[in-house]
């Protein structure tokens, strides 16, 4: 544990770090590849829509001695449609019949009850007309659209349009990946899935917003110095919030894992499972995208600004001149100060951005911080 705590400190000071921004092209590539796979999967395999969207019935029986395959026969006989039967942790069965009308389902239910020697009142049934699923799906899309527009507007106001755009791209990325995984693995899409998916939106952004917040803070007076380019500061923001990002993701995933375990292990299937599965996939994708996609994208966009271009030029020029000069300045001349370093690296070759050694402390530490200004 102390190692981990240590790592947090070292990340914070920039002694160790991963060059997220510098290696962005690689990660963009990875993401594009995943996205293409997802889209291809979606196009080829399509989504396995649950009965809530297609219309049909799900019957849940109490503990019964009838086997799953036997129940399947009964159900198909009673309904005249294909049935899918799953055993549940409670010893009951979950019988799913597609294409069943809400009117005929009662009859099917009583026939099933008779076949399986159960009290019809004890069989839980969920009957869904096809239009209900359409309505849910339409509303979900509508919600998605409204949410995206509002969030982009909000981020554009609270931060700036580049960050809003990057967050938007990251969101689309998360959703595509989640949907793609659903298509490829063939998980069933239910309203629970949709709930999970829509929640991811909020959560994925939550992560992104925290990194952006740190980035905004650290780049406030960026143009007044000539030590770092925007990309470098962006990278440091990611690294310094990395511990938090990891902690958040872990803490968010733990309850979801609990849900997934219980949903899958005890209930067999159903709402708990559906929500937690899509949350699990989406949260992972969200954590990844806020670090590897969103922030590097912001850096990319920012570097196009004439101001930032000029800054980069100045920084590079200064470094070049520093390199040709005396030894003590060597540290700052290192091109990639955030590259992964061996654990025992001496501070001298690191050039940590927050190190007091080579920087007037008042200027560096207080930069961009409200609390710093107060003194």
């Amino acid at each position: 544990m102390s190692k981990l705590g240590n790592l947090g400190a070292r990340l914070y000071r920039g002694e160790v770090g991963y060059d997220f921004v510098g290696k962005r092209m690689f990660w963009y590539g990875v993401s594009i590849l995943i996205t293409i796979t997802a889209i291809v999967g979606l196009a080829v395999r399509g989504l396995n829509m649950g009965i809530e969207f297609e219309g049909g019935a799900v019957f849940t029986t109490p503990k019964t001695s009838v086997s799953a395959s036997q129940a399947e026969d009964y159900a198909e006989e009673a309904a005249g449609h294909d049935a899918i039967v799953q055993g549940l942790g409670s010893g009951g069965l979950r019988i799913q019949v597609a294409g069943l009308d809400t009117n005929t389902s009662d009859q099917v239910k009583s026939e099933l009850a008779q076949d399986m020697n159960l009290d019809p009142e004890r069989i839980s049934a969920e009957l869904v007309g096809p239009s209900w699923g359409d309505q849910i799906a339409n509303k979900a899309w509508q919600g998605l659209g409204i949410f995206l527009v509002l969030v982009v507007i909000y981020l554009a106001i609270a931060f700036e349009w580049r960050m809003a755009l990057a967050a938007f791209v990251a969101l689309i990325h998360d959703i595509t990946i989640t949907v793609g995984i659903y298509a490829l693995v063939g998980f069933e899409v239910t309203p629970g899935t949709v709930i999970g998916l829509l929640t991811i939106l909020g959560y994925s952004l939550y992560d992104t917003v925290v990194v952006f917040d740190s980035l905004k803070e650290q780049t406030k007076e960026l143009t007044k110095q000539t030590r770092w380019t925007y990309s470098e500061v962006a990278n440091r923001s990611i690294n310094s919030t990395l511990v938090r990002s990891i902690n958040t993701t872990v803490v968010a995933l733990l309850p979801v894992a609990g849900l997934l375990f219980i949903g899958g292990g005890v209930l067999g299937a159903g709402m708990l499972n559906d929500i937690s599965l899509s949350l699990f996939v989406g949260l992972a994708a969200g954590a990844y995208s806020s670090i590897f996609i969103a922030t590097p994208l912001v850096a990319d966009l920012k570097e196009r600004e004439p101001q930032m271009k000029a800054l980069k030029k100045r920084v590079l020029a200064k470094r070049a001149s520093a390199a040709s000069q005396s030894e003590p300045q060597e540290a700052e001349a290192v091109d990639e100060p955030y590259d992964e370093e061996p654990e025992d690296a001496t501070p001298a070759v690191v050039g940590p951005p927050r190190s007091q050694r080579s920087q007037p402390s008042s200027r560096n530490r207080g930069r961009g911080r409200p609390s710093g200004k107060r003194r």
Partner: protein, 584 residues
Amino acid sequence: MAAPKKGRKQSAQGRPGRTLALMLIAIVALTGGMFASGHTTPRLGIDLAGGTSITLEAQNEPGQKNAINPTNMKTAVGIMERRVNGLGVSEAEVQTQGDKNIIVNIPKGTNSAQAREQVGTTAKLYFRPVLTGAPTGSATDPGASPSPSPSGNSASPSASGKSPSPTPSATATTQGRAVTEGLAAKDSAKKADPTPSSTPSDSASPPADPSGEAAAADVQKQLDALDCSTAKGRAAASEKAAQAEDSETIVACDPESQYKYALGPVAVNGERVDDASAVFATTTGEGWIVQMEFDDKGGDQFAEVTGRLVGQAPPQNQFAIVLDGEIVSAPSVNSAITGGSAQISGGFTQQSAEDLANVLSYGALPITFKEASVTTVDAALGGDQLEAGLIAGAIGLALVIIYLLLYYRGLSLIAIASLLVSAVMTYVIMSLLGPAIGFALNLPAVCGAIVAIGITADSFIVFFERIRDEVREGRTLRPAVERGWPRARRTILVSDFVSFLAAAVLFIVTVGKVQGFAFTLGLTTVLDVVVVFFFTKPLMTILARKKFFANGHSWSGLDPKRLGAKPPLRRSRRVSAPVDPKEA
């Protein structure tokens, strides 16, 4: 947001104990309120408690494009409520959801199949002429005397008080209502003979029915057998009456006036009503009246039936407005009404006039309902699902607590305390919201609460990491907390806002189970902000003064050495060269 005013910071720093005390008082008050209100558990949704939930989707009738509007939906909900409660189902609830759905929730222990049948069919409104009537067996059954309808609009005293002179009929009849031609309000006093409520046996004896003595006797027998004194009996009666063919005679109860009637074949179908509204008749002094308009064919039919009824002796000059086999009102006819528009007057309150107008317009409601989804959950399964949800929540909470303990050590105690406060508040508020706004905890809502554990814990992580960053800068704990807070606060607010936005959009836009999830998520996000501001922060400030944390005990989670802090800026606890970054 970024740079708070000095005064505010001072007060927040200066009186953390007071904030904390206020917060605790608020929690105790809320919890006390919960126990005082007697709702100590959240109301459970159908999927957790068992029962039947029916979602009905409104559909325009052909040719009617904009029929699905809030007014019509409200009318429809009113009708549905009548029906479900007519079944004797207690606690059933009917509510609109989204703009075109009605959800009917029927708790366990009631006949869901029957309820489904009732709710799923289209309401039928008919005008039938009265053949004969009798009071609701009050002589034999004392249980009938308390009025079953609480609307309180039928009692003759109220009628007499309102309109003593123009409609004397209202004072004497049990029903006390007259129907007159709509636009020209005629003097109804002369024509309408009072129905003597004191002699019910007389009014029942002359059933001058053209179909013959035998049939009349049969109807009379049916009427005698009709039990309108209990809710169950009425439900059975209206069910039977609702199933009757249009051409059959039926017997039905009028719960409002404590009368039961035998009714002739359908004279006018309720669909023929174009419009109905409650109006306050200022000119005639009749108080509240209900005006209705028929379409062409309905107008003709209504003219025919009123023409036939007008000359008859008392109960037979009445016609009954029958909705789903139950009489809504049975006004007497004072004159043949030919214009296609009519008004019903006598002893209405505003409420009862509007109710009747609503019922009448339901006949004209150009929407039908289709079962979009029906969920029947056995109580045992519901219990299992609730249990599973609670176990999942407990596992989730335990995992988070273990992780926090391992990573943040002593600091995690603050996080755990905050999480518990958050959990208690969520539970209490959910319990209170059940009776307050009809919030029902369903499975997605439980999921939302579990997912929210992560969001809530995240706020603490943001705060703690900020503090640790400040400690790494070489600050001692107290200034570190005060400096880290404004920055953590902004991050927490911004990210919680995004989370809340997602929940709000979900709640407003979506339908069905998604709403329950969104509601919990929104609620817990708001609570998260409350807890962080008024509990975690003051608690942190207080604990930062304690030796255990301030000196950076190795189990406090704030050990400067472990965090790799730079040497202190102001006081040198450790001796090291100030220019060298401390390697931990």
